[in-house]
Symmetry: none
Subunit: 418 residues, 2 copies
């Protein structure tokens, strides 16, 4: 069967002058793949009538055009009249869109402006699709058999509407070729070493499957994916191949699905019915931050003490003054004392702690920028490890956070075996 | 003088399936603007002959086409033969390109593969431009007065070649119109209200200036930019207009340059020689996290207590049990007590606290999901405000973090006046 041709048009001067990176297009591309479609192209243009008309015309060979952006309370001055021109229609007041805007403002306790009222004026021949995430409308409109779906450019609104409204419509209307992917998360091994270890397996993969290496902050994601009209064959082949892969590199895999390591730790904690808390110096609250993005994290996460100022390590966590003086703040003794201290303070089963030098300054000969001690405390005592994560501050913070969760994971597993 | 029409074509399957976000296009857009050019559009396509030929044809109305990607050791199997087809030429061995690849491999101590040798085969009628950053060639080739420049897709190679080689050629060959921009950061006012407030000013702007609204998580960035052959007139007009704007909305501006609000707070704290600490419930450490990304933050940031488990609010921060029982965890009394508590605990000049319901569950009739109380404590007592940030967990956390910094900024300013 013929492949559904789907094109994206991203509207916004801010994309062309580089003030905003077009993450919407990448997100849409991934979601479309997952659903069995393929994004054919993305065309990014500015907020001008001519550019918009040219782009619409250039997409008339598609089945579906996903348009993002150009619908905010100020930009829609250009986009909506241009839509009317192209689709030979005119703006009219849409009660449903108006009601949605009013209820949104009521919920947030704000007053509506004249401009927001204007957002309820929609092209007459379009179908209004409710946007419960914001005031910009979502619209579906067709011309010569080509469907155009207009979504706001604000990423979280676009993602919500696409998932809730557009994708279900697409699945009904267009042909999707079954696609399936598996993501295997590894840590503790570099990309090229990993590639060597699984080379024979990779070369023997069937034609309709492909493997991608996606390295990031001390982890390598492996994505094995394929498309096939026979969904069952695809599914079973993936099962077989993933099992073979897992047997090749058991020590490096922390998850058999695309999830951050803190999610693996969350599942483990829930399963074992245990809790943790963190004491963070160089990671500055990032261990807590990434964990609390998980809904339900409050069940297993007690809290965090970010003790950025050295005296707070003593006052809040009970790290002895003399220990800091003798060994220095970035030391095995201090990190283990921090981990034990926060475990006691927060009354949790596990305590994880970091102390190090994120940079760009503060390095010494003994502890250059990038040095990080990570410790984990449990009922059976404290363990710790020393790392060096290089000289980029953000990179040090991210890699230390991932390493802390890997050590916490090992700690939970070791403690439930004993 | 006529505007130089510049288009970008980004080639790569990985961009369309969302595996890689197209940051090259944004980077090029920004550099072109700064240099006095305008990027007209970006077209992202996959690694296929048909897609590449269609894209080339669609760009024949441009003066210059900047092509990125499609030249790596595997992808160039498709791109280079397609280039030859379009430009009616054939591949031939290029000694200069070959020498460059050899010297690169020697420098890195690696062995050359057959594929790398193939990278020295270039279209006969192209001009070879050396790439000192990697093995992929950079090429300049023309057809019917349209210039095509091909660059590798690896961001750091592309940036290097564009800066070293292409931009200087462009400045010689094409007409650049001087460009200048200013970014004004606002918070505490929605996009449409802001637009209403500055409507008269905006409408009176000279033709060569334009204003863009860039809303993001409870902030609106205003970008005033312009292009004019008379660079001095442009500069002075921008000075005047920005001064007028600042006078119109003094209460909402937190920075006269493009920076996050925590950076403004950092500068303020350094200037005043004062410190802060945070007590975070629903923001889960994000207030600490964004602040500690700033190098040097340890000078003014004492630490954070993330008290996710309710009893920890009492134990760590000293919020009275009875208060929590009487008013609930998400209340004015508790947030002010948390702010005061962390200020005492961490011995800082200011304490900022958050308590709320990030969702997706946990909402009640009185406190629906998205409700957040934010408090700031100082030597003159505690103040607090109630917000609703909607129903998306990540959005609630980000918006609450920004609102907390805005309240902290107000607190610091108010305290230094008294």
């Amino acid at each position: 069967m013929k492949e559904t041709v789907i094109k994206n048009i991203s509207i916004g001067d801010e994309l062309l002058i580089g003030q905003v990176v077009n993450t919407n297009a990448a997100w849409l591309g991934e979601r479309l793949s997952d659903a069995g479609f393929q994004l054919n192209s993305t065309l990014t243009i500015g907020d001008s009538e001519k550019a918009i008309l040219d782009a619409f015309n250039a997409c008339m060979d598609a089945d579906l055009v996903l348009v993002t952006g150009g619908l905010g309370p100020t930009a829609d001055d250009i986009t909506k009249p241009t839509v009317c021109k192209f689709f030979e229609t005119e703006l009219e007041f849409c009660q449903e869109a108006y009601d949605n805007i009013v209820s949104l403002f009521n919920r947030r306790g704000f007053q509506m402006s004249e401009r927001n009222r204007g957002q309820a004026m929609l092209p007459k021949s379009c179908e209004y699709i409710p946007n419960t995430y914001g005031t910009a409308p979502c619209m579906w409109i067709e011309k010569n058999g080509v469907a155009f779906a207009f979504m706001p450019g604000v990423p979280f609104e676009m993602k919500g509407i696409f998932t809730d409204e557009l994708l279900p419509r697409m699945m009904e209307r267009f042909h999707a070729i079954p696609y399936e992917k598996r993501v295997i998360m590894t840590t503790g091994i570099g990309e090229s070493f990993l590639a060597d270890k699984i080379k024979d397996w990779e070369e023997a993969l069937p034609d309709f499957l492909s493997l991608a290496y996606l390295p990031q902050y001390g982890m390598v994601r492996l994505r094995l994916s394929g498309r096939h009209e026979d969904a069952r064959l695809l599914h079973e082949t993936l099962n077989d191949e993933v099992a073979k892969l897992a047997a090749l590199i058991p020590d490096y895999i922390f998850a058999m699905q695309d999830q951050p390591i803190e999610r693996t730790v969350f599942d483990l904690l829930i399963n074992k019915g245990v809790t943790f808390a963190s004491a963070e110096s160089c990671t500055g609250g990032n261990i807590a931050h990434v964990f609390t993005l998980i809904p339900g994290s409050s069940e297993v996460f007690k809290g965090t003490a970010v003790t950025y100022a050295t005296p707070m390590k003593t006052k809040v966590l009970g790290v002895p003054d003399e220990m800091i003086e003798k060994y220095g703040v970035v030391s095995q003794q201090v990190v283990e004392s921090m981990a034990t201290g926060v475990r006691n303070l927060m009354e949790s089963d596990f305590g994880v702690a970091t102390t190090g030098i994120a940079g760009p300054s503060g390095g010494t000969d003994d502890n250059p920028v990038g040095t990080v001690w990570i410790g984990v405390a449990s009922s059976s005592g404290a363990v710790s490890k020393r790392f060096n994560f290089g000289k980029d501050r953000e990179n040090v913070i991210n890699r230390a956070t991932i390493a802390a969760y890997e050590m916490l994971r090992e700690g939970i597993l070791a403690n439930s075996l004993s």
